[in-house]
Subunit: 367 residues, 2 copies
């Protein structure tokens, strides 16, 4: 397998090329996911300076050994604030302009640098430059996401087998997270959502001490982080026996959401606009009169972060490209009843779409 490091010099060159439109030949990258993407560093503090002459990563003494192991570029370990060392080198190198990630850098830090540089160095706002590159995954990144997806699904199967009536949402979440860790994940990709009954109608429910009862929906939204890459999946099960009035309504909502999810997936292909993919799922729900209960976007890119470009939202004009990895996750939320969301992680291929998530979408019943 090609190593991620092989891609990094190309990525750094692409970032510098993108900086030309900002009228500068240098950029200091500080958003940690972008830093990792461009030089391999996985720690919590550092700045990567890219110029036409090469790449230098600056970090603090806690990461002395780690940065030397991880980075495929020059490394400077500095005592004192990292930005001060970067600024000093920018002046020493006699750079006259520098791009900074204005969406990630605090205004206070920007102001301090602007003051430090005075008129000698002109600052340019880089917005989404590295994020734009990251939207299309390299084959090696796809392989890593695939592994994270498989791990997440394996953990779900393992944990779900332990779930029974009377357990709390928190206990179920704890079992899922534990299963992920034992399978080798660095941790959950985000705070695992377990929501039973009416709480499943809250799209961002945190697990509570509430016990899981019979004749309830149980929604699980979870992802694993493995080797830095994320997965994301939502499944809904029914606790109890099918057959009653409640289960019939649950089934109707479930089938409608699944149909919408499949319609969304079917719309994924190179060249499709994000808004049209969103619309395909929404249209399907409209035919059932349920579209007004689908209150969020259809999905989002993911990779080194759980939410990345592109967003599959109703106003997003940009087109899908081969190598993009996105979630497809329509939901229907009925406040007094509960919610159903079904979510897979999918890959945009040269010819269409590949669903990476292997977990069954049959309406599962926990007896």
């Amino acid at each position: 397998m090609t190593k991620l490091a092989d891609f990094r010099p190309k990525r750094r060159a692409a970032v510098l090329a993108a900086c030309e439109s900002l009228k500068t030949g240098a950029i200091a990258v500080s958003h940690l996911a972008n830093v990792r993407y461009l030089c391999g560093f996985t720690g919590s503090n550092g700045v990567l300076l890219l110029t036409g002459r090469g790449a230098t990563f600056y970090t603090d003494p806690r990461y002395d050994i780690q940065s030397a192991q991880e980075c495929d570029c020059a490394v400077k370990v500095v005592t004192g604030p990292v930005w001060e060392a970067v600024a000093k080198d920018v002046r020493r190198k006699r750079l006259t302009s520098l791009a900074l990630e204005s969406e990630h850098l605090s205004h206070a830090q920007w102001t301090a640098l602007a003051k430090e540089f005075g008129k000698a160095v002109k600052l340019a706002e880089a917005k989404g430059v590295v994020e734009g590159l990251r939207a299309v995954k390299s084959p090696d990144e796809v392989a890593r996401i695939r592994k994270a997806v498989l791990l997440g699904s394996a953990a779900y199967e393992k944990a779900l087998a332990l779930v029974s009536e009377g357990m709390t949402e928190q206990q179920v979440a704890a079992e899922i997270d534990h299963a992920m860790r034992l399978l080798g994940a660095e941790g959950p990709a985000f705070e695992t959502i377990v929501a039973a009954g009416k709480r499943s109608a809250l799209p961002h429910a945190r697990p509570t001490g509430a016990k899981i009862r019979r004749n309830q929906l149980l929604l699980v939204d979870m992802g694993a982080c493995l080797d830095g890459y994320m997965s994301d999946m939502t499944r809904v099960a029914y606790v109890g026996r099918l057959g009653g009035r409640l289960s019939a309504q649950a089934r109707r909502v479930y089938d409608a959401v699944l149909e919408a999810q499949l319609a969304g997936i079917a719309a994924v292909k190179p060249g499709a606009r994000c808004k049209d993919v969103d619309a395909a799922a929404r249209k399907s729900l409209k035919q059932r009169g349920l579209d007004r209960f689908f209150t969020h976007s259809l999905g989002h890119g993911l990779g080194l972060e759980i939410h990345e470009t592109p967003r599959l939202g109703g106003k997003v004009e940009s087109e899908l490209k081969p190598g993009m990895v996105v979630t497809i996750e329509p939901g229907v939320y009925l406040p007094e009843f509960g919610g159903v969301r079904i979510e897979d992680t999918v890959l945009v291929t040269e010819s269409g779409v590949e669903v990476l998530t292997p977990t069954s979408k049959e309406f599962a019943v926990i007896a």
Copy 2:
């Protein structure tokens, strides 16, 4: 027990009073821990606008139900970007100045607001205003931190009983996190550190697939998040039997670090300068010739975040006050041998200090 909500109107008044020195009577708070502190909201997106006429919290439709349940002030749920809604109301209220948290707001967001306001609203940089208030905990906050500390210690005991030679660092971390969750924690306060052998010399080691062997040090740095509040503790155990050459060296280092930790704790009292508390522990290690291996600050405040004001560092002149909660965590890191760090969470009382962490600091042996 007094509810946290009872303190919030006072806190909001104190923030507005602090804004007077910035020559404004209004502030928009967006750093989420500060938002939670001031109005109770625990979600992931929102802005709190404080003016002399009252407080209004702005969030998106995902948090419609949750914000109504949590906030003790007016709530506006808006579709579209939250900051746009805030800006619109700032103009509608004819405010002529507004403080923003420049250390937390991105430069891009700041610039967008400055452009939107033009000359009509003057922006002021609020730095550490809410963080300064948060450094001194209310009795109710101390009670919550106490619970998080007790939970963390209970999870440590429970997990450590399962540890044996041959387990990986990752497995031990998974057991600790699982124990925390089953005891009711929202999750770990930070990524649990489990480092065996030489890796214990890396202050920020991430757990790996490396197996725990005999005659190794095992360092665990962990904390629990409960009801939003954090705990933080580090303990080091010895795997194997005491008696050999290695264990004797480990013991010497351990005893020196423990002595330094106790010296640091003894220096904690109202009016003590942060740098003097740090110096007390460092001086103790110097007497053993080990101070050059203590490569970080002695400790940090904690509460709604794991790292808060004050920092107990060698250059920090500020004084401790009753109600502050800080960690005391000296360490000695010998690259070819391993590291020892001992860390408690302590409370500054009216008369001195109370160690909140109940876990034994005897040199533990895992047979």
